[in-house]
Amino acid sequence: MAGDASSIPEFDQEKYDSDEQVKIICLGDSAVGKSKLMERFLMDEYRPQQVSTYALTLYKYSTTVEDKSVVVDFWDTAGQERFLSMHPSYYHKAHACIMVFDVQRKVTYKNLTSWYKELREYRPEIPCCVVANKIDADLKVTQKSFNFGKKQGLPFYFVSAANGTNVVKMFREMIKRAVDYKQNPSDFMDEVMQELENFELEKKEDPACDAVKSDSPDLA
């Protein structure tokens, strides 16, 4: 059936298991500028793909992190955020999360609590950051400290999608953290999955393979 999620290539989330693929999700209220931030970072290179049935937009981005090529899928909401909740598949296999609020609207800052709560229900350990957007509207806000990020131990960025301040820096750092996380996942489920995979390998293969595996630079 056409409505079957697995029939859409982008919903084949198995691909996020491969080393060179990471998934980064954006969270935040309506009209905080999530898409504008994406567009500022990707400029003309972006190829957004609307998946309207699921109220989301996907952007593909290729880059290199420490000499290794990486394909990043950015997942952006397209209206679904209005319910202050996202479908579980949005969080599934995500490697990092960018949470955005609008410095001109307090409610978008207050709602970070619920966004963060939902994120942690599905992805307890993935890297996450707090992004204060639209600082071009009122530079004075950058004098203030917003404690939400600090309390949760999350990096905080003052950015402007309009004039570009700190947008590229924020995305680059988050891509790096997503890749790092993928190489050293600390989420319980990920660990269990890895253990299972290792277990199967050990069962199937002869001891020589184990020696090779422990030399793998990825695990060092």
Binding site: D29, S30, A31, G33, K36, M43, D44, G79, E81, R82, F83, L84, Q104, R105, K106, V107, Y109, K110, N111, T113, D136, A137, T142, Q143, K144, S145, F146, N147, F148, K151, F158, S160, A161, A162, N163, G164, T165, N166, V167, V168, K169
Partner: protein, 158 residues
């Protein structure tokens, strides 16, 4: 382009977009009345605005008018056809910083976004600008930071 758009507005009857523009060669300011045809209270304002902006007879004059502005003018026209007052239309474009925009429908949200886009476009650095820099990094020193009033009040996780 030999015309510079100065201001624009709407005329309810018959429905039209009014454009004040300056003729660059003669430096004269003139008024152009652009009739809005085949437009009803059921029309799509975005589509209608696009049609007008690309209209062969008007496109030279409307070149400097942002599409979002033309769309808003069409919304005002349509609101009028629906019996809404001008005050109502204008108020619907304003963004109340206390309002939770998650609770709005598509059309209402589009109006607010239109208003926000105005500021965005004003402050926007285009990649064609001569002084455009892709990666702009600015340190905001935490030393003189004051506590944000948004954090105070109750301790609901903030």
């Amino acid at each position: 382009m030999s015309y510079e758009a100065k201001r624009c507005g709407v005329q309810f009857s018959p429905p039209a977009i009014i454009l004040m523009y300056r003729h660059k060669q003669t430096d004269q300011v003139r008024k152009r009345v652009i009739p809005v045809r085949n437009f009803s209270k059921y029309s799509d304002c975005c589509l209608a605005a696009e049609r007008l902006k690309n209209h062969l007879r008007h496109q030279d004059y409307l070149g400097g008018v942002p599409l979002s502005q033309l769309e808003r003018l069409h919304v005002v026209l349509r609101d009028h056809l629906l019996g809404h007052s001008l005050q109502h239309s204008l108020a619907s474009f304003q963004v109340d910083p206390e309002e939770d925009l998650n609770k709005l429908g598509d059309e209402e949200l589009a109006r607010k976004k239109g208003h926000m886009d105005k500021l965005f476009e004003q402050n926007r650095r285009h990649k064609d600008d001569p002084d455009f820099v892709y990666d702009i990094e600015v340190e905001f020193s935490p030393s003189d930071q004051e506590k944000c009033s948004w954090d105070g009040e109750s301790d609901d996780g903030f």
